[in-house]
Amino acid sequence: MKKGFLAIAIKDIRRNKILYILSIPIILWYLIFCYRPMVGVLMAFQNFNPVKGILGSQWVGMKHFVDFFTGIYAWRTIRNTLALSLLDLIFNFPAPIIFALMLNEVKNRYFKKTVQTISYMPYFISMVVMCGIIVDFTSAGGIISTLVANLTGTASQNLLGDPACFRPIYIVSNIWQGLGYGSIIYIAALAGVDQELYEAATIDGAGRWKQTLHITIPSISSTIIIMLILKMGSMLSVGSEKVLLLYSPSTYETSDIISTYVYRMGFESYNYGFSTAVGLFNSVVNTIFLLTTNYFAAKYSETSLF
């Protein structure tokens, strides 16, 4: 006989009273900070007026979406966002894994710890300071610009003003900043690999490379897949702060992404409704990415989020 949902719930609550009490703050946090503000998405269908509020503003239906998709910047911002995310995924996702594998092979404990600590450091530099450093180094006469100019035999120029250089600068600086910190989770996963497997492999005659290929990577593959799914979920939410700090009108062609566009429209031109509409579109696409990746991960491996 099937019991009602309520009956099961009550029974469960009785049994795990303490656990439920412990979870209350987190549930409240989600309700207050995540669910309550969701009313705000209604602005996407309004000529929102901050004074009249959600209830008093004029409803305009899908107008903002039509405006965005028929405007000249829709494709460009989507393209730039996708390009930055994809490049970030291709270069920045495997980088910490490779770094962790390499560290794993280092036998000298002190050397290993030192390298690890040094590689974490950039992560703790504040975004604004880091972007200031980048702007300085890549301006005409800056260290990086001069280096590039010497290598290519051209005059030193402002690299951040060149649309072609924006993506490389963005990706390389991302790797530099996130490499060490991103590798922590893999290093932790590597520490949990059963040492007996290596012994067995050595006896079977497997070298270092074979061991990595057949033992290390399969052992941490579930961590990699989970990280990949999480990463896919935020595909279109490229860190807007960093782009905002680095871009300028001269590089809009490659640097103007959905979130910076939303920012300019919303807070510099006060088009709240339009801004929300574009942001909402961004979120929907993110969700689709997340679900797709999860589907394929579940299908082709045993690991998935849900």
């Binding site: 995540c34 309550r36 503000p37 969701m38 009313v39 705000g40 998405v41 996407a44 929102f48 007026n49 901050p50 004074v51 009249k52 509020g53 959600i54 209830l55 008093g56 405006d67 405007g71 000249i72 910047y73 702007v135 301006s139 005409a140 006469g141 120029q157 402002n158 951040l160 003003g161 060149d162 649309p163 939410s237 300028s248 009108p249 001269s250 809009y252 062609e253 103007d256 979130s259 939303v262 920012y263 300019r264 919303g266 807070f267 510099e268 031109s269 006060y270 088009n271 709240y272 339009f274 801004s275 929300t276 942001g279 909402l280 961004n282 979120s283 929907v284 993110n286 969700t287 679900l291």
Partner: protein
């Protein structure tokens, strides 16, 4: 079923990202319109302000864009404290740094929690949709009747000045702000001369035996010499979108980078015009020749030359404001080079003997202070505001405390030694005159503010800049017009896209990253984005201004 539930909750989660940028959900509807336009009984009319204005210490909040190196907030200013003592009214200032002004104002409007007064600066921030909309939205108070009733001094100034009367009204004939008025020390209304303009290294000109440049081709000669002979890596500094605040260079071609007066009755948009193209061609050429700062997109030199350029001999010319001219860098200790000497230069023209048709336009109306519907005691606040328009109030705001920071000589205020030549004992050594004034006198804000007070505080050679800059004309300048709500709703989304396009293309053409062959495409993109409609709306707003 379970799957669908999960899916739903996931989609809901995704909305979080959307709301990160737009979490303004306050459902306060309607707004409390206050006593807009309500008749106030004749008997209330105030004809003279008597002190103290409040017996029991009324308190009001003011939002203002203001920052200073030495004191954190206007509340620490001694003149503000003296004003509080005299009137019995306390003003709590919320000071916002200049660069964050627009953004913070957007957030303030979205927050639904307003201070009693908002100082919008000299249109540094404007209510989207204009003053009439702000009143209709129930954010700002319609002050028309209140001014007549409670502000005898302000009322008088308006009644005696046609331009002032016109400027302080909206298109619908209402008042949504109290204007700070520029005056002289005798409390007569008078606009300030232009305080920003182009400057150039006089010492380099002398060294090279060159005359002060007047035409565009003079400038090219001078800048080339700066680059070749003086090794300047950024001979001319410009703003991140190619222009400078005073539109020098663009004005030589008879256009501005935004909306401007094509002739006495027609509004035009610079980038649509042939003159803009000629200006771009000039700057593209100069950029290629190395005459323009190669890092202009990130240097933010639209109004002021950055110190790391001005004080290091990296640049020879750029926009500046008058206090930062002459040997400022040496005096401030930014450089050991005593020779660096920036002097004012008129905006360039195409042909010799012409006068540039644009300068920084100063109106008698400066800062605009709106009173919001959050204010609970309008009569007291307005009387306090009106006191700032008396000569007595003006002296406190502009000169500080009598006997300490100024004395009256033949009925004229004169700064004391502590303000003019501070010594080590005053703890003010190395503090610029401007900053000293900001510590001991309030300066800009509601009330009368005399601009000639600077004449005393600064050396004459620094002050004289304004007369060079002020000699240029203003025929290209559009007056301060306002749009209706509907016009704003239509205009803003269109113009935001146009602005993105114009800034991007202008910079790309100047830097040479895009071929000039595509210029006609740029013009047709402007047309397809519907720039014509924007011009029409601006024209309509201008016509309404004229009809006020």
């Amino acid at each position: 079923m379970r799957k669908i539930k999960r899916l739903t909750s996931l989609i809901l989660c995704a909305f979080l990202v959307a709301t990160a940028f737009a979490s303004c959900d306050s459902a306060k509807s309607g707004g409390n319109g206050g006593n807009n336009g309500e008749e106030i009984p004749e008997t209330e009319v105030v004809n003279e302000i008597t002190l103290p204005i409040s017996e029991d210490g009324a308190t009001f909040d003011m939002w203002v864009i203001w920052s200073n190196t030495y004191i954190e907030s206007l509340n620490e200013n001694t003149a503000v404290q003296l004003m509080e003592e005299k009137t019995g009214v306390t003003i709590n200032y919320t000071c916002i740094p200049t660069e964050a002004g627009t953004e913070k104002f957007g957030l303030l409007l979205a927050s639904n929690e307003y201070p009693d007064m908002i100082n919008m600066g000299e249109d540094q921030v404007t209510y989207p949709g204009g003053g009439d909309k702000a009143i209709d939205d129930g954010v700002y108070v319609d002050l028309t009747n209140y001014v007549e009733t409670y502000m005898p001094n302000y009322r008088n100034y308006r009644a005696n000045d046609e331009l002032l009367n016109k400027m302080t009204l909206t298109d619908q004939g209402r008042m949504y702000y109290i204007a700070m008025l520029r005056a002289d020390s005798d409390a007569n209304i008078s606009p300030e001369p232009a305080w920003v303009g182009m400057t150039i290294r006089q010492d380099w000109l002398d060294d090279l035996g060159l005359d002060m440049p007047e035409t565009i081709s003079d400038w090219e000669t001078v800048l080339t010499a700066f680059k070749d002979e003086k090794g300047a890596e950024a001979p001319l500094m410009i703003g991140p979108t190619g222009t400078v605040t005073t539109e020098a260079f663009t004005s030589a071609y008879g256009v501005l980078s935004g909306f401007y007066m094509k002739d006495a009755t027609t509004v035009g948009y610079g980038p649509c015009e042939e003159g803009y193209r000629q200006w771009i061609e000039l700057f593209r050429d100069w950029y290629a020749k190395g005459l323009i700062d190669p890092n202009f997109i990130s240097n933010n030199a639209a109004m002021i030359i950055p110190t790391e350029y001005g004080a290091t001999g990296k640049t020879g010319a750029g926009s500046n404001i008058w206090g930062l001219t002459r040997k400022y860098y040496y005096e401030m200790g930014s450089t050991d080079d005593e020779n660096i000497d920036f002097v004012a230069v008129k905006a360039p023209t195409l042909n010799e003997g012409e006068t540039a048709q644009y300068k920084y336009v100063s109106y008698p109306v400066s800062h605009k202070i709106a009173v919001t519907t959050a204010c609970e005691d309008l009569p007291t606040l307005l009387k306090w505001m009106d006191y700032q328009y008396t000569r007595e109030g003006m002296l406190i705001n502009a000169y500080g405390t009598e006997g300490e920071t100024y004395t009256m000589v033949d009925d004229e205020p004169v700064y004391t030694e502590i303000m003019l030549h501070p010594t080590e004992d005053d703890g003010l050594l190395g503090v610029t005159s401007g900053d000293r004034l900001a510590i001991y006198a309030r300066g800009d804000g509601v009330g009368l503010v005399p601009w000639d007070r600077w004449d005393q505080a600064y050396e004459e050679d620094k002050r004289s800049c304004i007369f060079v800059w002020d000699a240029d004309e203003t025929s290209l300048a559009l007056p301060q017009v306002t749009m209706t709500e509907d016009e704003g709703n239509e205009y803003n989304p269109i113009f935001a896209q146009i602005q993105t396009l114009v800034q991007e293309k202008t910079v790309a053409y100047i830097m040479g990253t895009e071929s000039l062959d595509t210029y006609d495409n740029f013009l047709s993109s402007l047309q397809s984005l519907n720039i014509e409609r924007c011009i029409e709306i601006q024209q309509a707003a201008f016509d309404r201004y004229n009809a006020r």
